[in-house]
């Protein structure tokens, strides 16, 4: 614990609890036991700080986004004093390579900053669905947030490759290709691009760190796959009454490896994605009902290939049409081109406010992963459970992952601050219904983790051993998971 018995570290900027609370976006009256905020500026400072925390038994909670509503960063923490480890001052895009479509960044880099740098290399970031502008790119990937480019999602580690880590013990470690050179500049000069996630030898700690919610180690930089910007691309927004119709198109896209971005939204979720503010959301919601818009939407972006791009568009569009034309599908992008244009603008340029908070001020969300063959049933079960909710709008976002092998199911309840408490029970009921029927909570935040680990008790002692190996003093984010 921080007290007068030992000096605060001088090798790093350290600020008091008031400033820490401001950073966390909570009021000074909030009972959160935050003791201060440390702001390292390079990897050496991170390592020194973690070693200092070990020496003085100080709990550190690493956070990377420079600002904004921290949805998961504090969820589940033990009710005990802690120091925020603010990684947002480390915000360099260290390197980008357009030919290999890979970049190296620090944790504080946000999507708009990243894209601005990548554009010079004819690249853009691979994004999750509508991140807020202040969201840390690296934090998104470390949390295994699904991205909207499922065909480029080969494995759950993507788009991350190598990491440069400080373990909870204070020791440094580099994963994958980053382990080959001690000096990153020398590696880059010699043409090494840190493209491998796994390794070295019998280790695969990129995979271990992902999903660990900052409980095992702190990442100082990482190599990240990006998307080459296509010379031609065309988006489509299809609508259908039955989500299974759109799922059949998704299967085709995955099998034929067509399309760059694609995902599915319910009508409410589409309105939330397009809404500029709560009034606009209400208007869109009403308008969609008046125009008898379909219940479900599939966004697909067909992108040209590098050589003979026009011709590549022709055969891809023909292949897509060969299926879509046979299905009960409405091409919304033809009927209402403005909706498509607005959605694409949102997809490429993150907004300041997180889109889920726009409709009603705040939201409750539950998400899990499942299989394409099970997701329609889970949607039905959730709709049944939530059917009687009044004054709450419910939206669904379905994101195919890992080239169609998995599907992320994201259910949002858009509501006001006052309704938050009363929805806590329904949130956990939803978790249970999904988990009972093939939904897997691979990223269990806060209260969800109790249910998730109760369903696989055998893994718990093994994860605790992992914690003991990487963070033997237990200084990193205790309580967030099963340790």
């Amino acid at each position: 614990m921080i007290n007068d018995a030992f000096p605060l570290p001088k090798f790093v900027t350290f600020e008091n609890a008031t400033i820490a609370k401001e950073f966390l976006g909570v009021s000074t009256e909030n009972s959160l036991k935050v003791q201060g905020i440390a702001r390292p500026e390079d990897e050496q400072q991170v390592q020194q700080l973690v070693q200092w925390a070990n020496e003085h038994e100080v709990t550190l909670v690493p956070l990377s986004s420079p600002s904004g509503n921290r949805r998961h960063g504090l969820a589940g923490l033990k009710d005990a004093p802690f120091v925020v480890l603010d990684m947002s001052k480390m915000s360099r895009v260290i390197h980008a390579d357009g030919e290999d479509a890979i970049a190296i960044i620090e944790p504080g880099v946000t999507f708009p900053e990243f894209d601005a740098q990548l554009q010079k290399h004819n690249l853009r970031s691979i994004k999750p669905f509508l991140p807020r502008a202040s969201k840390s790119v690296l934090a998104c990937y470390l949390e295994r947030e699904p991205t909207t480019l499922p065909n480029e999602h080969w494995d759950s580690t993507d788009p991350l490759a190598s990491l440069s880590l400080t373990m909870g013990s204070g020791e440094s470690f580099r994963t994958g290709g980053a382990a080959l050179y001690e000096d990153l500049d020398e590696a880059l000069k010699n043409g090494a691009r840190q493209m491998m996630a796994s390794g070295p030898i019998g280790t695969d700690y990129t995979r271990v760190m992902l999903g660990s919610q900052g409980t095992l180690g702190v990442t100082s930089w990482a190599s990240i796959y990006c998307q080459r910007i296509p010379s031609i691309e065309q988006g489509f927004l299809y609508g259908a009454e039955d989500v299974t119709t759109l799922i059949s198109i998704v299967r085709h896209l995955a099998l034929h490896q067509l399309g760059a971005q694609y995902f599915m939204l319910s009508r409410v979720q589409l309105a939330a994605a397009l809404a500029k503010d709560s009034t606009h959301f209400a208007e869109l919601h009403q308008l969609f009902g008046k125009d008898a818009m379909p219940a479900w939407y599939l966004y697909v972006n067909i992108a040209s290939r590098d050589v003979l791009p026009e011709e590549s568009m022709q055969w891809q569009l023909a292949d897509l049409s060969s299926l879509v034309d046979t299905l009960p599908v409405t091409t919304i992008s033809q009927q209402y081109p403005s909706y498509l244009a607005e959605l694409e603008a949102r997809l490429s340029t993150p907004s300041k406010e997180f889109y889920k908070d726009v409709p009603c001020g705040t939201h409750t969300e539950v998400f899990c992963i499942t299989q394409m063959s099970k997701v329609a049933n889970l949607v039905n079960l959730a709709q049944n459970l939530l059917a009687d909710l009044s004054d709450v709008q419910v939206g669904f976002y379905l994101q195919p992952m890992i080239q169609g092998t998995n599907c992320h199911l994201d259910i949002s309840l858009f509501h006001t601050d006052e309704q938050t408490t009363q929805l806590a029970d329904i949130e956990m009921q939803l978790v249970k219904v999904l988990a009972d029927n093939g939904g897997f909570f691979s990223r269990p935040y806060g209260k969800w983790s109790e249910d998730a680990f109760a369903r696989n008790e055998t893994i718990v002692p093994h994860l605790r051993r992992v914690k003991d190996i990487f963070d033997p003093a237990g200084i990193l984010s205790p309580g967030k998971l099963c340790y």
Partner: protein
């Protein structure tokens, strides 16, 4: 017969039934021979026969067998289809847990995946997958290999990797019997949600026990996995052409196979980047010309006669030193035509060309990449050496990787045409992976019949590791086992963390593999930093070779 006491044999029989336990000589000695060579020596057997072979039929029986091993402090090692020396037990007298009774296979076409057990072969899996417009990754060991073993335990790369990745990355949820006999399901299957993901809840635990190389049986037994499948635009059943053993696969409708050729690797690399970024080529791999020659011939005699008389086809000679075998795959005629046009444009812009190949050669190249049917044939030249560099890094490193393997590592003893091998180019097997990076293994062949060849091989392997340590060109993959302690320090000490894992999950050191880290570092590893400076200095090498010659000479029956 082994010296295993009867009561221990009875304990195994109680778990798996008397028909599934044997300590008969003919059984245990069969488990001492693993096809792809023994440890570096002139021996053809490992010299490490297990005390008994136990064949469980279920995960619960595997756990039961492991618990018996723990009870009597017996070492054990899992065995699936058994391709190379790494399949054998690590220590003479261990228990070989032969998983041949566990051959479950279930395809889930809607989720593009399968659920398999250890003795399901890649040949069986791909045959079933084709019926659903899917295919699996097949590693270099060919259709006989166990995809579960390659995914959970050992490397997992193969020539079709541009389209089908690496089996360690294709693995989804997994079932593991720990070295102490506990059954643990990792990922979604642990929560009874299915076998579709290996990560969570929370951290990706499998990264502790799999790694880049795999524990090769040094961390318990894997009994069931979900595995990702890939799109297959071909027919439900592959067509085969030609008489055995020249069997080939005519490219299916909307597929095409070519042997492409350039004057230098700089042009070829430029073309490779273009092919990668266009996504017009599904499969892209390079077999060194001598390996192509062994695919096209039925026997060593046939190859030797054609080579000596200069009658090998061009693709099996130096004329094909710089090139790729490519196979395109399309779902429609329009896509097929675009693939063709893209390939022609890339060749025109990079001074490349399509080599003239016969239909038979084309079909054999197609079979080689689609099924890995022929990869193992290069072992006909001999075996022993195998190193890698350029692993999973930028394609732009290719020219330097080839130069390094051709010039820098080889000296009079080990280069092509030297004591180790008699072929006319370096032996880099290369392929693209995931449309992102590339893989290469330099696999120069050598007969193991003579001590001088073994010595040249060991010299070559260590020299290449040292060279890659000085200036890395991607990971040197085949650093493993005790070599982890020699080369780990320059990689940020993964050996230290691997040892923590080994000692945490296998506290009795019973999971018996010499291809994984050992509980304690060998004494030699402490001397290695100085020894390598002495023995790999030009004046020190003759001394090193003398020491090796003496050491390996002990095994030489001649």
């Amino acid at each position: 017969m082994s010296n295993l006491p009867p009561h221990i044999l009875k304990a195994f029989e109680a778990v798996v039934g008397p028909d599934n336990v044997s300590d008969e000589d003919f059984v245990v000695n069969c488990h001492d021979w693993m096809g792809l060579g023994a440890d570096p020596s002139t021996r053809t057997l490992l010299g490490k026969a297990p005390a008994a072979v136990v064949m469980p039929g279920s995960t619960e029986e595997v756990a039961g067998v492991v618990k018996v091993c723990n009870q009597y402090k017996l070492k054990f090692k899992a065995h699936s289809t058994g391709y190379g020396n790494y399949s054998g037990v690590g220590t003479k007298g261990s228990i070989s847990i032969d998983l041949c009774r566990m051959k479950g296979l279930e395809i889930d076409p809607e989720s593009r995946m399968a659920i398999i057990q250890p003795y399901t072969t890649a040949g069986e899996l791909v045959s079933e997958a084709h019926k659903h417009q899917l295919m699996c990754h097949i590693i270099g060991a060919g259709p006989i290999h166990s995809p579960l073993a390659s995914a959970t335990s050992f490397v997992g790369v193969g020539v079709a990797g541009n389209h089908t990745s690496i089996n360690s990355r294709n693995m989804l949820s997994l079932e593991w019997v720990t070295p102490e006999g506990e059954i643990v399901r990792i990922g979604s299957s642990g929560s009874d949600a299915g076998w579709f993901t290996g990560e969570g809840p929370g951290p990706g635990f499998r990264g502790m026990i799999r790694g880049l190389y795999g524990a090769a049986g040094g961390l318990g037994v894997f009994t069931k996995i979900g595995i990702k499948l890939y799109p297959w635009a071909g027919p439900k059943t592959l067509e085969w052409s030609g008489p055995h053993p020249y069997r080939g696969t005519p490219p299916p409708e909307n597929f095409a196979t070519y042997q492409l050729d350039w004057d230098n690797w700089e042009d070829a690399t430029k073309a490779t980047q273009m092919m990668k970024n266009s996504k017009a080529v599904a499969f892209i791999n390079r077999m060194p010309p001598a390996a192509v020659g062994h695919c096209l011939t039925a026997t060593n005699r046939e190859y030797y006669d054609l080579q000596r008389t200069g009658k090998l086809p061009d693709i099996a000679t130096k004329a094909n030193a710089v090139g790729w075998s490519v196979t395109t795959m399309a779902w429609t005629k329009a896509q097929f035509d675009w693939n063709e046009a893209v390939l022609n444009k890339i060749l025109a812009e990079t001074n490349g060309r399509k080599m003239d190949i016969s239909e038979r050669e084309r079909d054999i190249l197609t079979a080689a990449v689609l099924t890995s049917h022929y990869v193992a044939r290069f072992n006909r030249m001999g075996d022993c050496a195998g190193v890698s560099m350029g692993v999973l890094d930028s394609i732009n490193l290719i020219p330097e990787v080839v130069k390094r393997t051709n010039d820098d590592i080889g000296d009079k003893e080990t280069k092509a045409g030297g004591k180790m091998m008699e072929v006319d180019t370096e032996q880099n097997w290369m392929w693209l992976s995931e449309g992102r990076h590339f893989w290469t293994e330099n696999n120069p062949a050598s007969t193991r019949s003579f001590v001088k060849n073994i010595v040249a091989c060991v010299d070559f392997i260590l020299s290449s590791f040292i060279s890659n340590e000085k200036k890395p060109l991607g990971a040197a993959l085949f650093v493993h086992g005790e070599a982890s302690d020699l080369f780990g320090p320059k990689l940020g000490h993964p050996n230290k963390w691997m040892r923590k894992v080994k000692n945490t999950w296998d506290p009795n050191n019973l999971s018996d593999s010499k291809h994984f880290i050992q509980p304690e570092a060998a004494k030699e590893s402490k001397a290695w930093p100085i020894a390598k400076k002495i023995f790999f200095h030009p004046w020190g090498k003759p001394i090193f070779r003398k020491i090796l010659t003496k050491e390996f000479g002990k095994d030489d029956p001649k």
